[in-house]
Structure formats: structure tokens, C-alpha cells
């Protein structure tokens, strides 16, 4: 049970999101299976991961930033 919860939280920390009808980012499928405490944990864990990703990138860009730049055609 704990492993399953952990895997669901980790799954939501990716910057990948499915697209809606107008190509807008939609919630990660695993997010709907999280209880409120796990959703908060997912938000916090993602925040920390993005800080790490930005620190590792030569231009300070996290995977979120890079996903958005790809979307706007950069």
C-alpha cells in the first residue's frame, strides 16, 4: 500500500502531462488517485525536483520550463 502510494506520487513529479482537446496540459492520470495529503506531497516533491533540475541545467531551466518552451515552439 505504501509502495503504491509512493509510486503514484513519484509518477506525478514528471513534467509530462497529457493534452486536452486544445492541446492544453491536463492533470497527470496518477494525480486523480492521490488523497489530499499525497497531492500536497506531490506538489512539494515536484517543487524540490524542479529546483534540482534547474540547478543542474546550464541555463537554470527545469523540465517544466523546457516543456513550456517546447510548447511555444522555441
Amino acid at each position: 500500500m505504501r509502495d503504491e502510494r509512493e509510486a503514484l506520487i513519484e509518477a506525478t513529479t514528471t513534467a509530462w502531462r497529457p493534452r486536452g482537446p486544445s492541446a492544453e496540459p491536463r492533470p497527470h492520470p496518477a494525480w486523480a488517485d492521490l488523497d489530499p495529503a499525497a497531492r500536497l506531497e506531490a506538489h512539494e516533491r515536484t517543487r524540490r525536483l524542479r529546483a534540482l533540475e534547474a540547478a543542474l541545467h546550464p541555463n537554470g531551466l527545469s523540465t517544466t520550463a523546457r516543456a513550456v518552451l517546447a510548447r511555444i515552439g522555441v
Binding site: E6, A7, E10, A11, T12, T13, T14, A15, W16, R17, P18, E24, P25, R26, P27, H28, W31, P36, A37, R39, L40, A42, H43, T46, R47, R48, L49, R50, A51, L52, E53, A54, A55, L56, P58, N59, G60, L61, S62, T63, T64, A65, R66, A67, V68, L69, A70, R71, I72, V74
Partner: protein, 203 residues
């Protein structure tokens, strides 16, 4: 997309200095603004985190910021584009709450909570070359499979779901996720040994 070879220095100037270039459609200036604004924008959505997927909301808000930037007129106060971005992000979050038919009273309470949080403080560790070298050193010490899972996430730039990344690495999705978790924890341990405060946050 601005990459490792481009002359793009992470945000050192005030983000407001980038406004004219962003408004003129300069994507490199927008990337630089993004590097400085993302964390604060994400923090501004924290009060919505139990009700909306803040990553999806944040990405949609950032795309809209880019779209409206050419029409944005600064009010002379600092962080003009960031304040606009926070308003847009909260509006996207509220639209999502309405789409999910959340009780309007609860929506109002969440909006009030978000306003109370105010403008998040500026992060103090953006673009620190020493920190980057330390993280890279720790990353090099990761065992092969956690290192591969973390690299796949970083290199995909959010373009592919974990299922596909796992497939490329010949891992089951659950194994891939366990390796991402393991990479994060091992990095945290390594950084803690080196006295980096990011370690506490990654643990």
C-alpha cells in the same frame, strides 16, 4: 529551445529588465524570465495543491503569460510580469476547480488563502555554479539504473510519459519510478554529506 551551447546566462538581472524583449517575442528573454520566476509561481499555487494538479496549471499559465506578454503594460511596481503570471495561474486553477464542480464556497476559500500567501520570496539559490558542480558530482556517483532513470526524466523535457521512458530503458514503469525515487534519495544523502542545504529538501 535555448540549450547548453547558447549564450544564456541564468537570471542575474532584475526580471523586469526582460519585459521589453519578452513583449517583442524574444523567447530567449522569456526563458531567462522563466528560470527566475518558475519557483515563485509554483509556490503561489500551493494552497490549490490538494484540489488541482499544480504542474498542469503552472504549464498552462506560463503558456498564457507568453501569449499575453506583448499586450502587458507594466504598472511601475516591481515584478510586474510575475504578478500578472500569478493572477493568470490562480485563474487557471479556479477554472479547473469549476470544471470539477467544486463547491463555490470552497473555491472562494481557496482563492482567499492564495491571496493571503502574497508574493512568494525570491529563491536564494538560483543559478549557483558551485551548487551545480556539487550536484553533478553526486549525480556521477549514482548507481547505473537510478542514474539512467533520472537522466531519462531530465533529457525528455517532459515530452514523453514515464511509461515510454521506462520502455526505452527496458524497465517496468514501477521499477522506473522506484529508480527515480532511489536517485532522488541517494542524491539527497550525497548532498547532505557535503553540507548542501538542498539535501534536506530532497530527502
Amino acid at each position: 529551445m535555448p540549450g547548453a551551447g547558447d549564450e544564456l546566462v541564468p537570471v542575474a538581472e532584475g526580471v523586469d529588465d526582460l519585459l521589453p524583449a519578452i513583449g517583442a517575442g524574444d523567447a530567449t528573454a522569456f526563458a531567462r524570465w522563466l528560470a527566475g520566476a518558475e519557483g515563485r509561481l509554483r509556490d503561489s499555487l500551493r494552497s490549490f495543491a490538494t484540489r488541482v494538479d499544480t504542474e498542469a496549471v503552472l504549464q498552462e499559465a506560463l503558456i498564457r503569460v507568453w501569449q499575453v506578454a506583448p499586450r502587458f503594460v507594466p504598472d511601475g511596481r516591481p515584478d510586474g510580469l510575475l504578478r500578472l503570471a500569478i493572477r493568470i495561474a490562480r485563474n487557471v486553477a479556479v477554472s479547473e476547480l469549476r470544471r470539477n464542480r467544486l463547491d463555490p464556497v470552497e473555491i472562494e476559500a481557496l482563492e482567499r488563502a492564495a491571496h493571503r500567501d502574497g508574493l512568494p520570496p525570491v529563491p536564494d539559490r538560483a543559478a549557483d555554479p558551485m551548487l551545480r558542480r556539487t550536484i553533478e558530482d553526486c549525480r556521477r556517483q549514482l548507481p547505473a539504473r537510478p542514474a539512467a532513470a533520472l537522466a531519462a526524466r531530465l533529457e525528455s523535457d517532459g515530452a514523453e510519459p514515464d511509461e515510454r521512458l521506462a520502455e526505452h530503458l527496458r524497465m517496468r514503469t514501477n521499477t522506473f519510478l522506484q529508480n527515480v525515487t532511489r536517485a532522488r534519495r541517494l542524491l539527497a544523502e550525497c548532498l547532505r554529506r557535503r553540507g548542501v542545504d538542498l539535501a534536506m529538501e530532497l530527502a
